[in-house]
Symmetry: D3
Subunit: 189 residues, 6 copies
Amino acid sequence: MTKTPISRFPVPEIADLPEDLRERFLAVQEKAGFVPNVFLTLSHRPDECRAFFAYHDALMEKKEGLTKAEREMIVVATSNANQCQYCVVAHGAILRVRAKDPLIADQVAVNYRKADITARQKAMLDFAMKVCDRAYEVGEEDIATLTGHGFSEEDIWDIGAITAFFGMSNRLANLTSMKPNPEFYSMGR
Amino acid sequence: MTKTPISRFPVPEIADLPEDLRERFLAVQEKAGFVPNVFLTLSHRPDECRAFFAYHDALMEKKEGLTKAEREMIVVATSNANQCQYCVVAHGAILRVRAKDPLIADQVAVNYRKADITARQKAMLDFAMKVCDRAYEVGEEDIATLTGHGFSEEDIWDIGAITAFFGMSNRLANLTSMKPNPEFYSMGR
Amino acid sequence: MTKTPISRFPVPEIADLPEDLRERFLAVQEKAGFVPNVFLTLSHRPDECRAFFAYHDALMEKKEGLTKAEREMIVVATSNANQCQYCVVAHGAILRVRAKDPLIADQVAVNYRKADITARQKAMLDFAMKVCDRAYEVGEEDIATLTGHGFSEEDIWDIGAITAFFGMSNRLANLTSMKPNPEFYSMGR
Amino acid sequence: MTKTPISRFPVPEIADLPEDLRERFLAVQEKAGFVPNVFLTLSHRPDECRAFFAYHDALMEKKEGLTKAEREMIVVATSNANQCQYCVVAHGAILRVRAKDPLIADQVAVNYRKADITARQKAMLDFAMKVCDRAYEVGEEDIATLTGHGFSEEDIWDIGAITAFFGMSNRLANLTSMKPNPEFYSMGR
Amino acid sequence: MTKTPISRFPVPEIADLPEDLRERFLAVQEKAGFVPNVFLTLSHRPDECRAFFAYHDALMEKKEGLTKAEREMIVVATSNANQCQYCVVAHGAILRVRAKDPLIADQVAVNYRKADITARQKAMLDFAMKVCDRAYEVGEEDIATLTGHGFSEEDIWDIGAITAFFGMSNRLANLTSMKPNPEFYSMGR
Amino acid sequence: MTKTPISRFPVPEIADLPEDLRERFLAVQEKAGFVPNVFLTLSHRPDECRAFFAYHDALMEKKEGLTKAEREMIVVATSNANQCQYCVVAHGAILRVRAKDPLIADQVAVNYRKADITARQKAMLDFAMKVCDRAYEVGEEDIATLTGHGFSEEDIWDIGAITAFFGMSNRLANLTSMKPNPEFYSMGR
């Protein structure tokens, strides 16, 4: 077999990108040691790329409420449900790093119900899976369940919005046949 | 029964919004005669709101390739599959206006396979439904089918990305229990 | 594209129909201003056509119990679940007329859980959706839920039987590729 | 456990039925040796009952086209897919009698793809299952497949309409919790 | 049509089998009057065949806890859910014999919720169906439900393990296109 | 949260096991450095345990036909489809070791269609997924597809039988809430 490319669509050279994207990508490279393929793949469409990362950061880098590790748990669980290889591998790595736990990502990806997480986190992921699979059935009883676990209204928005955002991201990754960078697989293990 | 509010979450007053959003909303109101509830609902989170509409406009206001009516067909078909009342009603209205056809939106929403559209448009919606329901199975044979109908690589990105974006939007609307403005129901009929 | 015919199967001329059907169709035409295509499509098989409308009227024109608008809500919700374009469009029109509400049909079709209807009507539609999708799981606990909302035994039969009848009707309409008359789309708006 | 009644709803005494139904039921009893419970259960609603059997007979007693055994195969396959105990047991009996084959009904009920039937009959049941599960996807390519197996346009209507009718019947039987008469289980074995 | 063979794969002659299998098969033949095709089909792979029957007997011939008829109920219900013709027909026969009830197998196969069985047995089959369809969701609340019906921890293992074993067996039978012996169809009726 | 135990059911001490199992477990421990929890969990039922491993080894340790890495690919892909945490983690480790590829297991688990494997291996996994999800639809056209990729009749049995066996194993692991040993997570990376 031949190694598949990182995207089914054309991928620009970093040098050819608009300046704001180039700077952003180089800053990521400086920090992480590599440019995650999601940046390269989406930069084929600079306006969409900017909006994507603005949205991503608003949801994932938020300081209040859910911890960053909890936000990544939502990503990993819903991305495996959507069979998105890129997001499970890349965000699995980030989850391991943020939770400082080398086992958590594989547990949450395959079956979060059996993961070593709290009952509150399971309720969070139950709700995420409902938004992922049957958002049309979300109702007041779901909100009440989450409130009963101590989640605030803002937390509930976050859980649902992260799931919705990665519902988009997972479909984009499968559409473009986006390939995870090899660096992600072993990160944080 | 009591009329339900436009969102399950707090909705800011337009007067209290950051200036850029307030100006944008007032411009829409000036043009359309009302502010669609998606603006009001999402403005609870200004950063996410800005990213949402930047992304939306990049995909839906694009001039090349798919027509604007075709873009709305994708929204309507996938939003009904996701049982998103807001998006079917609001984008159904926009589709009627853009296609200058009072019947098209209801046809496409319920079963696009029976709609008065071209074979090429049916292939476009078949692909959108696959991205909507089973993006993980998208493969080269799907690309070949679309290419055979004369779609370019950029068109294919558009079809898939619009479906993915409304996969997010539909989930947000169901999460927030977003209510369509009454004006949409009869627009373009 | 060419406009598709009203049925995939042969459609008789009204003049050639057996007298009882011809009279019935002309009476409908007199009252409604047009002959709904379901009459024309099914009259290809006069005996089945007679039984269909006898059954339909026994369920939909009944005076006691559920209101006529409630009966149409059941039709609209289950017909969208079955992706039946003819029934959503035609019975959506009838629902708007009978409920004297121009918005109700689109709300109930796409996601009745978000419609401006009573909790009792939502319970009615929850049960209809269960009969539509998983009738084999209907049990005493469903009956108890409905009774708790004040539905009588006869109401429960009606809800289930209307859902079952349109389970047939939706499949016939998709089998024959039955096309809604254009008049239905704007009726009652 | 207590033996369950034949219906969840009230069942009239034969003596109390309208005369036409009473005569019909007694004629069946004379011929079969017992009154199938579907008659008793549905007679709770005489008008619906008359329409049901008029429709049933128009589809199942037709002389041209599909054989009577083939019509029963459709009923048995779709009724098991719908998990309708009454229809699988009762029509399984009729299928054994009409096909003069004691094994055919159990084979067709569980997995018709492995039954001792012709390739043409398998194509017939493939189509029936599509109408049963995804009628909204029925298209010209399905018609062409059936035509390629020698089915006429009228045969295709019959296959689809029988499936649709039993889609209703299966839901009514599960709604009413209709119980098969013990006589059916061993008939034709 | 031609009668299909008992397996899609080569079937050894009994005379050519390893001695332990040949003796086992002949003992079954002596007792039952015929050799069930599952023995012949699986003997194509003697090691797998030995393991299969060792496992089968450990689960199905156990004396404590669930009755033998209850074990067969689990097999029949899950095998119909998996559309396994061989197992429904063969184990339906064994169920009739072990329950001394000619009607039970057809009832349990098509819709156990309507079968003449106890509430405890329905709970047993509800759990079996969950293990069959969504084992990943099995949790402490399911165990508690079964315990509430008087099932011991060992009973719960048995219910789950029998369902899991026939999950394998049903797939093997469909893989090999295994054909039930005609003797099974009428046994115990 | 508290660390969950390795099984929901009682787990014997190795010292208390029947001699043959104890020797086997100690041999595994000697070689691997630890006893995989599947041994400990299943040894609660020694006869079932023996049959399980005899079956497992007959399918997974076979020398001819599929490579050992290919056999593990089947396990990993179907175990993620069945959301079996134990099998994805444990057999993911074995796949990495046997394929001498640290990335392959995560790729195959999440979406084998995007994995760096050959077209022949994708066809193998397509068939495994069909046996996993819809074995009842397996037919001659599937066999022909595999034959076209160079698989022998014995290979096809192996693919299907491994899938069927892990269909059982995945359900047992979810039933018992079996926990993967921590050693597996990083093995072969």
